[in-house]
């Protein structure tokens, strides 16, 4: 097997995650899909690290994880406070930008 397959898998997972973001209305699930996309990227980075034979890819993946963790914390906090204010976790309900 060629390690390139990891990249294909990463692409597939990324696309699935992106589609999920578009389809789901529950903000928490949308968030999970975003996490899925991030993970797919991480897989790609790790595969690239292997390809290039150095650890920079892994470092990037590591940083991605850190940032993702921070993002999740803040994002979930936002979801919670939005839920408290509007009693809904649907992304469609937050459509005040609509004219």
């Amino acid at each position: 097997m060629n390690p390139v397959n990891y990249l294909y898998l990463a692409a597939l997972l990324f696309t699935i995650g992106a589609t999920g973001v578009l389809i789901r209305r529950n903000a928490i699930v949308v968030f999970m899909c975003v996490e899925l996309m991030l993970n797919a990227c991480n897989l790609a980075f790790v595969a690239f690290a292997r390809m290039h034979g150095n650890l920079d890819g892994q470092i990037i993946a590591f940083f991605t994880m850190v940032v993702a963790a921070a993002e999740v914390v803040v994002g979930l906090a936002i979801i919670v406070s939005v839920f408290r204010a509007r009693h809904s976790a649907s992304v469609d309900d937050a459509s005040l930008m609509k004219l």
Partner: protein, 277 residues
């Protein structure tokens, strides 16, 4: 020679592992997207992440593999579950699309994007895999540490700041300052009286002694179920068990039985009467 080979192909074991676990990962991802309940999605995602952790290990990223399990599957996914519990089940869980054409556009874009991405990877000349043999020579963790504390030290420091900020941010966002005294039971009761609705406590669920479960709506005198008697979460989840028809048929059966019994006694009586006659 072997190193060279390792660059192009992997061991059969790894190939086997890839195909099996890869399938699981894709299924997990699909389930994440298409599972109706957020809890299920979360669990599927956790599964996918564990699979990814294994792949990291297989790719020589030992540190990341462990971190993936500890941080992602362990911490982050648990956070998700907590929030899911906090928020509860809402109508947003429904997979029914409300925006016209959104689903088809999304699928079309997804399909196109995926095709392009995969096509792009296929087109790229990604033949040479150097392998991490040399990079991991001093141990993966040490290698990473060297990089983090030298080349990426600024980024690393920045992530520290980022995390602190995120923590503080999360606290600020979720913390709710009580600006007024909480209402006492008495005040709440008085408010209810003033507003003139539901002066008594909400009606209890359950019908008769046989069905006092919380997910069974109480019946109004005409036999229709009253939504008020069931908690909102259950209602949103659609987990209200409507027992109105069942209850009516039960009632009928009960009456029938009673009649039967009476009749039996009657008939028994008559029988006996007859018999006695």
């Amino acid at each position: 020679m072997t190193a060279q080979l390792a660059a192009y192909t992997t061991s059969t074991g790894e190939a086997f592992q890839f195909w099996v676990l890869g399938t699981i990962a894709v299924i997990g991802a699909l389930c994440t997207v298409f599972m109706k309940k957020a809890v299920h999605s979360a669990l599927c995602l956790a599964g996918t992440m564990i699979v990814l952790a294994v792949f990291y290990l297989a790719n020589g990223a030992y540190f990341l593999g462990i971190v993936q399990i500890v941080v992602y599957t362990g911490a982050i996914m648990m956070l998700f579950l907590f929030v899911v519990m906090l928020v509860g089940v809402t109508a947003a869980d429904s997979l029914k699309e409300t925006i016209k054409g959104q689903r088809w556009l999304a699928l079309l874009c997804g399909l196109g994007f995926g095709t392009l991405l995969i096509g792009g990877i296929g087109n790229a000349s990604l033949k040479e895999f150097n392998g991490l043999g040399r990079a991991n020579a001093n141990g993966n963790v040490e290698g990473l540490a060297t990089l983090i504390f030298t080349k990426y030290v600024f980024a690393f420091e920045l992530t520290g700041a980022l995390l602190i900020t995120a923590t503080v941010g999360a606290m600020v966002l979720t913390h709710r300052e009580r600006t007024e005294r909480a209402k006492t039971q008495r005040e709440l009761a008085e408010q209810r009286v003033r507003e003139g609705k539901h002066v008594p406590p909400l009606p209890a669920p359950g019908v008769y002694a046989r069905h006092n479960a919380v997910d069974i709506a109480g019946l109004l005198p005409d036999g229709t179920p009253s939504e008020l008697t069931v908690s909102k979460t259950l209602r949103d989840r659609g987990q209200v068990r409507d027992v109105s028809t069942e209850a009516l048929s039960d009632l009928k059966a009960l009456e029938q039985r009673a009649e039967d019994r009476l009749e039996r006694s009657n008939s028994g009586g008559s029988n006996s009467g007859e018999a006695s006659k």
